[in-house]
Symmetry: C2
């Protein structure tokens, strides 16, 4: 069974030791996880209270009060637990484990005897369980809990949360499914699909894979379930208003997934659904479904992706729009959407080792995901525009979703814990093995143990990425193929073994070196990083006449803090004389880029329009990595795309 | 009393005979007025029924049924009647006058005995009159009716409608006003202010000017009337929902007008309020109020005006946003807003003959107003974007207010009849006299009789505008100064009398020729029209690196119909070799502009991003007058601003 050709080395076998990412791991360990714990317990001043832990306490009968928060409030606890699980995988921490165990115990006490577990329904809408799959996220919450449970089981060997969640999922499966008498439905917010495959792999129980398959196949069929459900509720939505028509595109149910050709609707829902479907396909051997996923991947990444690895062009529905519509200042580009495509890429790589997936993974990692977090680990962007003008955001409602600085926490706090679990599980994405080959998907410094063919191999990767393009792998002996990705941005790609050039074959963006390796053999990848002016496909109207400055996988941006207001008045010309300089103001070892440019002079008159005259100042501009923007005060504008 | 220095020659004394505008007058006569009459009577197939006349029939007890339409539905009848009045001023038309008289009789029969006259309240909300000035437009409707009444009185000498409306206004003034026991309020949608000055001038009754003064001065004072009114309605708005806070910016009541420095809120409401206030100021001699109007004029036209003379940068609240925020594809730029600023300009000119007002009048006339109407006179734009991409309008809700083609009629049909009355009253805007001077504000072919000092002067203007820049005035004898505007766009301005250069003085954009004129003296103004690349102030981020192509007062645009899709891929370079050609496809004598340009080649690969390469096709682009865009099928994009 299955069409997978390779399996990712699990986190427990891959220890990240990287100049760039270890810093983020430290932030996760020292700041995000503790800070989010405080937030979940409503102890962060000046930010909206989460109430997430309190909801569980009330449900467990250990506190008085009412449910507060979104219908999916429980999922924030789940994502925090998942991050904790990964953190414990990386390094034991008795206190942290104790806190997590206590939360899990609390969750267990909150669970109803029949297995039901969603505090929104336990507290606020008793008896209405499974009456609003469209809006109410029950299965979404179950999915996140299941992910946490699997991660915690894998980290600690403790089954308690997994048992709790399996009981809940088993209950759900008695109510939802294809059999007569069940609700022939699925969740308005996909997530449980990808979680079910993980539960299947952790427990070995096929029923979870089957349930996933049902959910993926039922979705979007006619007559439309959500429309029927809405009618059965007399068209009353969860906010008490009426909707005559379910927005089926928004919730990924406008047509069966297998019939879809374009990424559409809410971009996080899309990313989660695709991830689940792709994982299902590689585990069940469903080539048709895998091909569907590839079609959607290609559409999303070749027609609807921002250069930063951001997805979702519009605030309306937090959604995809259509091919090549990629406005930079209106963009939604939710942090979670970028992360969901990282998950999706990983599943696709399990069947098809093609750099079109891993290049995007890298693009997301260094740009559109971590841009969601301030470097203090305590402030977060929900949306990640590629261009922004503070006054416009504040004064024009169409731009209000975008901010010039990251706020502390959100009422709808999906993004911060999503970042936490991404950062702490990074080891999961670096290596995979199959067909007697070790695949290196990411250049991230790490020590790994992998099984390839009959060989147990240790890999020690030292990498200077993303600031320099050199990575060195020390391998243990064996007879296997070692494959490394040739990034899309690498004009020069020098591969050597023990200092000598080596023969290799390149297939789908990976360089394959066959070999009988001796302990201590060193594979060196050297890809000189050059500053590049990237342009967008000419069908992207928003980027016409502009370039994005990139160096390796890192996308750069201008901030008015460095370059004055009116960033749109800046134009690169000719060779621009790009100059790179180490700049540690924001991040250790970071590289800033300087370039010669022209900036339109301000007028001396009050005119609004007049005959064109060429009047420019020659200036030097400074660009910083996009991921680091918005970390300083007194910044009023930011732009990735610069006129050329 | 008054600070006015000059008075506009009334329509009855100015007959437009113009190569450009007579065509629009013909459209108004032959198409718009009859077509709108059909629309008001619900006889236009495939468009939303207006129900406006039917509402009056029901109110008069001559038909059965319920009120339908917006709260301001009556105003469409008023604006149509006003256009008819102007039409009858231009040329008698017995049948049309009979139809109008019948409508006026119907309105009279619909009026309640106490004078009340708004079919929404007469039919739908009996007894709730004057309980929702914020939303319900009673005074707005009264204002439009009053404008129609004054125009009809001036056109025909018939007082009936004027008497009807004065009775209604007198009733309003017993309910609303500063005296104890009255509602200390004003209308959510300004309009009655400007109408009251007209009623004052037509009737000579000072009370109407006083009521206007009350309304202007009361507006925006603290405690805020709209907030209090909302509270008195238990925060229930007219749609049955609740609003905790009145949007006072939207309805021009965030602060007293005299304290305002920036044009803000709903742009049509702003334009109407400013017009009324300016007219009030010049009639009462309120210099402080006039200065306020000038401040707001300067802000609106020097910081928030589109190059087409469009106003209103955002769909949210159909409103102004803030200085220099002028997005081209998101713009609202309602047809009515442009027209309202034409009214405003005229009032300002009465006190201050400065081309900063009349230049904008001309800009609006040739561009952002008539762009609201298809050349068939039957299709109308509510909003007038400066750049549009059909697929984006259709698929992305943020852009949904903009269209690629004009629909037939609107549920909210404010714009079509506003255009009708503007076009038919154009003679009102051309000449004014005062201080023994005849001022020519617009180069529009016309025969006029004006009174200047002790002289009755006839002026015959022949003009080739806007296609050529020559205008010739034949004057009758007398001792007076003849002044003509020196347009902002005229690099060369040749003035001659009887073929000979003449001495003249230029003040505030007007050239003044003193003279003892003989019958038949000819003043010739020759301003060679050149194609110009106009740039926006560098603070206008949306126009950075772009130029608008203009010739004389006419702003041009690209359509994909002529230039292929991806207009954003087109870039003008160097001298562009502009070439003008007569092009009658859309409009008699129209001039199209051709230029050399580069167009980015489409890529041969499916990439979304790649390293920049210069790969362009040399093409010839065609630009047409912006006012004429959207008149052909198979057009998918339009753009005013072109990359340079």
């Amino acid at each position: 069974m299955g069409i997978k050709t390779n399996e990712f080395a699990p986190l427990k076998n891959v220890k990240v030791k990287d100049g760039f990412w270890s810093k983020y791991e430290d932030i996760a360990k020292n700041v995000i996880i503790p800070y989010q714990w405080e937030a979940l317990n409503d102890r962060v001043p000046d930010t909206a209270p989460s109430h997430a832990i309190e909801n569980f306490r009330i449900a467990a009968g250990e506190a008085e009060g009412e449910f507060h928060g979104f219908v999916f409030q429980d999922s924030d606890v789940a994502k925090w637990l998942e991050a904790v699980a990964y953190r414990l995988t990386i390094a034991p921490d008795e206190n942290l484990e104790k806190t997590a165990d206590d939360v899990i115990d609390l969750i267990g006490r909150a669970q109803r005897e029949d297995g039901y577990l969603d505090t929104y329904y336990l507290l606020k809408e008793k008896g209405k369980e499974f009456t609003n799959l469209l809006d109410c996220h029950e299965m979404y919450v179950a999915g996140h809990m299941a992910e946490a449970a699997v991660a915690y089981f894998e980290a600690t060997g403790k089954r308690k949360l997994l048992d709790i969640i399996c009981k809940f999922i088993d209950l759900i499966a008695t109510r939802v499914g294809k059999e007569e008498g069940k609700i022939h439905g699925y969740s308005g917010h996909p997530e449980i699909e990808l979680a079910l495959v993980r539960v299947y792999k952790a427990t070995g129980e096929r029923k979870y894979l089957d349930f996933c398959e049902y959910l993926v196949n039922e979705r979007g069929t006619e007559p439309n379930f959500f429309q029927q459900e809405l009618e059965s509720r007399n068209f009353i939505n969860m906010w008490g208003g009426t909707d005559k028509k379910a927005d089926t595109v928004y919730c990924q149910a406008h047509k069966p997934l297998r019939e879809q050709k374009e990424a559409a609707g809410h971009s996080v829902r899309a990313g989660y659904l695709y991830t689940g479907a792709a994982h299902l396909a590689v585990e069940t051997g469903d080539k048709e479904l895998f091909d569907t996923c590839e079609t959607l991947w290609d559409n999303a990444t070749q027609k609807q992706m921002y250069v930063t690895g951001g997805f979702g062009s519009q605030v309306h529905g937090e959604a995809f729009s259509f091919d090549y519509q990629l406005p930079n200042d209106l963009s939604y580009t939710e942090t979670c959407a970028a992360i969901s495509f990282l998950f999706f890429a990983q599943k696709m790589l399990m069947c098809d080792v093609d750099s079109k997936y891993s290049d995007v993974m890298e693009r997301i990692l260094y740009n559109g995901s971590i841009s969601g977090m301030a470097l203090d680990g305590k402030h977060f962007f929900y949306t990640n525009p590629l261009e922004t003008w503070d006054e416009q955001n504040k004064r024009v409602p169409a731009f209000r979703h975008n901010k010039i600085k990251r706020p502390g926490w959100f009422g709808c706090a999906c993004c911060p814990p999503n970042l936490a679990r991404m950062i702490t599980s990074l080891g999961n994405y670096i290596y995979s093995t199959g067909d007697n080959t070790i695949y290196t998907h990411l250049y991230i410094g790490s020590d790994a143990k992998v099984k390839v063919g009959d060989w147990s191999v240790t890999i020690s990767q030292k990498s200077s990425m993303p600031w320099e393009g050199k990575s060195e792998f020390t391998l243990s002996g064996g007879s296997y193929t070692f494959a490394v990705r040739v990034p899309f941005w690498a004009d020069k790609f020098n591969l050597s073994v023990n200092g000598k050039a080596v023969e290799y074959e390149v297939k789908k963006g990976y360089a394959y070196i066959k070999g009988d390796w001796k302990d201590g053999d060193k594979v060196t990848v050297d890809m000189p990083l050059e500053v590049k002016m990237i342009e967008a496909n000419p069908f992207v109207r928003a980027d016409s006449g502009k370039v994005a400055i990139c160096r390796g996988p890192v996308v750069y941006c201008l901030e008015s803090k460095d370059n004055g207001d009116r960033l749109s008045s800046i134009r690169l010309v000719g060779e621009a004389d790009f100059r790179c300089e180490k700049d540690e103001e924001l991040f250790p070892n970071s590289v800033s880029i300087y370039a010669k440019a022209l900036k339109k002079k301000a007028w001396e008159t009050n005119d609004l329009y007049k005959a064109f005259t060429a009047s420019f100042d020659e200036i030097e501009i400074k660009l910083i990595p996009y991921a680091f923007w918005g970390n300083r005060d007194d910044n009023r504008e930011m732009a990735v795309w610069v006129r050329y």
